[in-house]
Amino acid sequence: MHILVVDDDPLAGEMTAALLESQGHAPLLANDAMEAVEQLDTHSDIQLIVSDMHMPLVSGLALLAMLREQGNNLPFILLTGDTPDAALQQTPGLNACLRKDAELAWNLEVAVRQALALHG
């Protein structure tokens, strides 16, 4: 059972992965949307996706839209450097949208737990 972390900033991605690992999950890393799709093809046991919002070429939101179009319904959590606005929060198909700040560790843990519970 893996969690896929997508972030164009390797340091940020590793940090998210470290948080997830400390919370008992097995993270996989992808540097962009293309790599994310490759990882999804190779690993069939990915349970959840945590993606950065701002990435070159394909943004986190575009990745989400792309996956949903392809019928991929894995829970999806978006991370962003800004305070997420209401419109973004309510994007269909999005489980949570979290701000990258000092509370991230705790917020992420809750969001992951909720998303996994929802998807059984």
């Binding site: 940020a12 590793e14 400390s22 990258k100």
Partner: protein, 560 residues
């Protein structure tokens, strides 16, 4: 044996070091992009997204790793780049920011800077790992900044007793960084530091300026001179205490400062067979801050009422299957909903029909299309009135806890549900030791102080789902849900230890109090009454064995 996997702490530490290492090249790259983008407007358009992303990721990653000042600078740059039309001095502005970023980077590379960033983030990690599952709504994160730690030990102990999370700082700079990394709910700040006569309050002032949000703060000072007090007022502090401080007084001030006056939003259940109409009315009420639940079939209303426990019902009169009037009659036939306000919505203008509706016990009649203001005020007025009546009826006025009859009722309800779900609960009867003696020696005001303090201790340390009531006088009852009697005993015992260390003041006299508790278990005792009896017997034994202790009822002994 393999080497143990590095902890989260170690990993973050490594990531932080790598971030600092990479920072010079990141910044150089950004500066280069910026220069290039200034050459022609084509270049500018081409490089804008990349430049934006650079600052954005600097901000995001910087913030997550605890480099808050760096993140703030990157944020300003990002903001300037995305504002349109661009500011006139954008050239100098961005160059300035790049310079400042460079300076911050040098500061971080110095050993001192690293230590500070680490300290700021460490305080967060250590606490956040134990706190989340336990933290409830009333607990606060409090930063205490004082260069003489031994003077505030007692205070910290008291704050922690009440479930507050306290992080202590001895210098203003570490404090400054910590606030930027993780904003506290309240600050307790000394005025005088080695750095200056009013360094403490000045730090607060500059933080307020930098973040644009005033920090709820209380000053704790050894001095009461005019300048110290003035500096506190200028820093927007909500209180000023001189040392030595009485911890309970300061706690009250912290509570006042951090407890928002907002209550739980009013809850309204909308019953309407037309989803569009229901959604529209719900929206109007939600915009006014109410919490609204919609039901599109009258048959679902009762179920929704039980789960949502609304303060008011908004019902459409014309619905297939069951009219609004019939629904109101069904609802009124259940004693617990006798007082629930019901408002009808209909296109009916015939006053005769309206009157017949009123006979079913309906509070008001609104005609569709309803004026938004009229709807909101009609609902608010009636729902608030019910709230007030309910709280007068159910709460103990001194402590705000549930009163005797409400506690019994709530526990009985919880047990009924527990029977269905096959879960275990524990009940604790708590009684303050020698309370009569406190009243006789120190007066009733001191006695009240003890009761209020114990009530607050229970409220702040137990979960929101637990039922806490004042049974009368100095006696409290608690239903702890979903835990064994043994676990409940451990929990109540930790409260007992903390309570025993709280200092009370009556005039110049300082005194302490203890309590005893008896614990019984559900479903071994299957009813509220039998739970109470066996907890009472255990409490009696605790008192008999010398007080200031917890006793769990043993079913055998209680069958006498």
């Amino acid at each position: 044996m393999s080497k143990p996997a590095p902890s989260l702490h170690d990993k973050l530490h490594q990531l932080r070091e790598r971030f600092i290492e990479q920072l010079p090249s990141r910044l150089a790259q950004t500066a280069e992009l910026w220069q290039q983008s200034r050459t022609t407007s084509e270049e500018q358009a081409r490089l804008a997204p990349e430049l934006h992303r650079f600052f954005h990721s600097l901000k995001g990653t910087g913030r997550s790793l605890g480099f808050e000042r760096l993140a703030l600078l990157a944020d300003q740059a990002e903001e300037a780049l995305t504002t349109s039309p661009a500011r006139d001095d954008i050239d100098t502005f961005i160059s300035q920011l790049l310079l400042q970023l460079g300076r911050e980077q040098q500061h971080l590379r110095s050993h001192h800077g690293q230590q500070q960033a680490l300290a700021a983030v460490n305080s967060f990690e250590l606490t956040s790992q134990v706190e989340p599952p336990l933290r409830n709504k009333r607990q606060r994160l409090i930063y205490l900044c004082d260069d003489e730690p031994e003077q505030v030990d007692q205070l910290i102990h008291h704050l922690r007793c009440f479930g507050h999370e306290v992080v202590q700082f001895i210098d203003t700079e570490t404090f400054f960084n910590a606030v930027l990394t993780r904003r506290p709910d309240a600050v307790i700040m000394d005025v005088q530091f080695p750095q200056g006569q009013t360094a403490g309050t000045e730090t607060l002032t500059s933080l307020n300026k930098l973040t644009g949000q005033p920090l709820p703060a209380i000053v704790l000072s050894a001095h009461s001179d005019f300048n110290s007090r003035l500096s506190a007022v200028r820093a927007g502090c909500g209180g000023y205490f001189t040392k030595p401080v009485k911890p309970l007084d300061l706690m009250l001030a912290v509570d006042e400062l951090t407890t928002p006056m907002v209550e739980e939003p009013l809850k309204v259940l909308v019953v309407d067979d037309e989803p569009e109409a229901a959604a529209y009315h719900a929206l109007l009420l939600e915009e006014d801050g109410m919490s609204v639940h919609q039901v599109h079939h009258p048959a679902d209303a009762l179920n929704a009422m039980e789960r949502f426990s609304p303060d008011l019902l908004l019902v459409d009169v014309y619905m297939p299957v069951c009219s609004g009037e019939e629904l109101a009659t069904i609802i009124r036939q259940q004693p617990e909903y006798l007082g629930l306000p019901i408002i009808y919505l209909s296109s009916e203008t015939d006053s005769q029909k309206q009157i017949s509706a009123m006979s079913a016990g309906v509070e008001a009649f609104l005609t569709k299309p309803v004026q938004p203001d009229e709807l909101v005020s009609a609902v608010r007025l009636r729902a608030e009135r019910l709230r007030l009546l309910r709280s007068l009826m159910t709460r103990d006025s001194m402590t705000g806890l549930y009163n005797h009859s409400t506690t019994t009722e709530l526990i009985t309800k919880a047990l009924a549900q527990a029977h269905r779900e096959d879960s275990q609960h524990a009940m604790a009867m708590i009684d303050i030791d020698h309370f009569k003696h406190v009243n006789d020696t120190h007066g009733h005001l001191a006695g009240d102080q003890v009761i209020i303090t114990l009530a607050r201790l229970l409220k702040s340390r137990l979960r929101l789902s637990d039922i806490i009531g004042r049974y009368g006088g100095e006696e409290f009852v608690v239903l702890l849900k979903g835990i064994s009697a043994e676990k409940a005993a451990t929990l109540i015992d930790s409260l007992r230890e903390d309570f025993a260390l709280v200092d009370f003041h009556a005039g110049d006299v300082r005194f302490r109090c203890t309590f005893s508790a008896g614990i019984s278990r559900f479903p071994a005792q299957p009813s509220t009454e039998s739970l109470r009896l066996s907890a009472d017997q255990a409490l009696y034994r605790a008192k008999h064995q010398g007080r200031n202790q917890i006793v769990i009822s043993t079913e055998l002994a209680d069958e006498r």
